[in-house]
Assembly symmetry: D2
Homo-oligomer: 150 residues x 4
């Protein structure tokens, strides 16, 4: 089922950023907020730049902002390995654990693909504040990848 | 562990809406978007008014907007039964399944509490489009309720 | 994606029990333990007969026994609607919340299908002890249904 | 909330195995099946010895057996750091993704604690077959740790 899928990214960070701007402009609505930092075999790292609108009272990044970061991060990991055809991948299931109140400042996400098939991918996302050892949140998501149009 | 917890809401819809405006004003940032429609024993119903900023390309409500609606809905169900002291309840875990692309228009959420203890609550949220029988998403969340300050 | 799928069961309880014995005999290894009580549109009810080997110290049904009951229950709900071809459905994801220590005695599970497509199904399972109002556990599972062999 | 919790195991593998035999003898019901291989800071590795009764038709380890291995593994990781008082930790939530059909043979689980507080712990479990690079399943679990008896 999952044979012949490349286990190395086939898109560069610059190519991924360009695709994100084209297909998902609302991600940067109100100022650029999510940056792709790195892609690696079966992995991706993204950064959420803490803007006022992601904050909850107390100055910490909100739950929905962390959900979005995990979700976008795993999706980026998937299509960076499969190419632009996989931009249509959709989230089927996402399970998130909030572990600690994040401190002020940017939040990073390290995503790792646990399975990368042609029709289905599963990835995990560990969120942490820059410089901190302990994660602030952790998510696992399942994605359906539509068959390529002929 | 969960004895002596009221199984009927002790706040009215008007009282809940007032509390939401006071403690969570950013929910209505850019225009009122979430309305509490009804509370009932161990349950609550909310409505997400579809604004431009919740939409994905194609005009459907985004995943993060549905995550937020489910999360806020279960939280409202909890504190409507426990009172304002439970406003500090925090999401520990949320698992969401996206079932169908939501059509244009408002999304409703029906929340049901599966467990309502003094320190811990678990609820489920079924999201659907007005008038449609089949749900567009389903979530289950676990919430930690801080001990009251003395 | 989910068009033309029957929303009523097409197998009777007796037919389902017969299939379970044929394809999953180890379910009854050491004595009959799971019984199908009822199927209904998009739903199924099963019973776990409490045997010594499902019990934890203290006499309550174990976590793995509840996991199995939820998993088998949703699977039965799926193939009772799709027919024997769907016996090959496999669990992709299962999220379970343990809510209360179950008392001694049988555990029932009420399963409800949230989505029933040709290749994918999502169902929820509410577990409770006979006669009790409050659930002991709740699970949501996602199932992949293999394409029929030609 | 999570201050002053040791981040190194305080029990040896031999002490853990002894405790498991004392408090959870049914784990080895019908022959020894789960072995603790290693504990490390915020981590534990266990092995499921493939017995006939864990197998599904086709000879692969069953879903419930993998669920049990993940659940026991995270629980072992928790009490190996907190000591015998934490043997009473109970699973509140477990989310498991089944990624690939496991081949014949033993299954190993690598557990990592994402959060280790005094009352609450969260851990993840990656299951794989000996010698294989790709995981067969992945789970995340939340555990409640009862207050010590006085």
């Amino acid at each position: 089922m999952s044979k012949a899928v490349p286990s190395e990214p086939i898109l560069t960070v610059a190519e991924i950023e360009k695709l994100l701007e084209d297909v998902f402009p609302q991600l940067h609505h109100g100022g650029r907020t999510v940056m792709v930092e790195q892609v690696a075999p079966m992995a991706a790292r993204l950064r959420l730049i803490a803007h006022e609108r992601h904050l909850r009272p107390g100055g910490t990044v909100s739950g929905p902002a962390m959900f979005t970061l995990a979700d976008v991060g795993i999706w980026v990991a998937i299509f960076s390995h499969l190419g632009p055809e996989a931009l249509d991948a959709v989230t089927m299931n996402l399970n998130i654990n909030f572990l600690r109140k994040p401190p002020h400042g940017d939040v990073l996400v390290d995503c790792r693909l646990l399975k990368l098939g042609k029709r289905l991918a599963v990835g995990e996302a560990t969120l942490f504040s820059e410089g901190a050892a302990e994660p602030v949140a952790h998510a696992v998501g399942t994605y359906s990848i539509p068959a390529p149009r002929k």
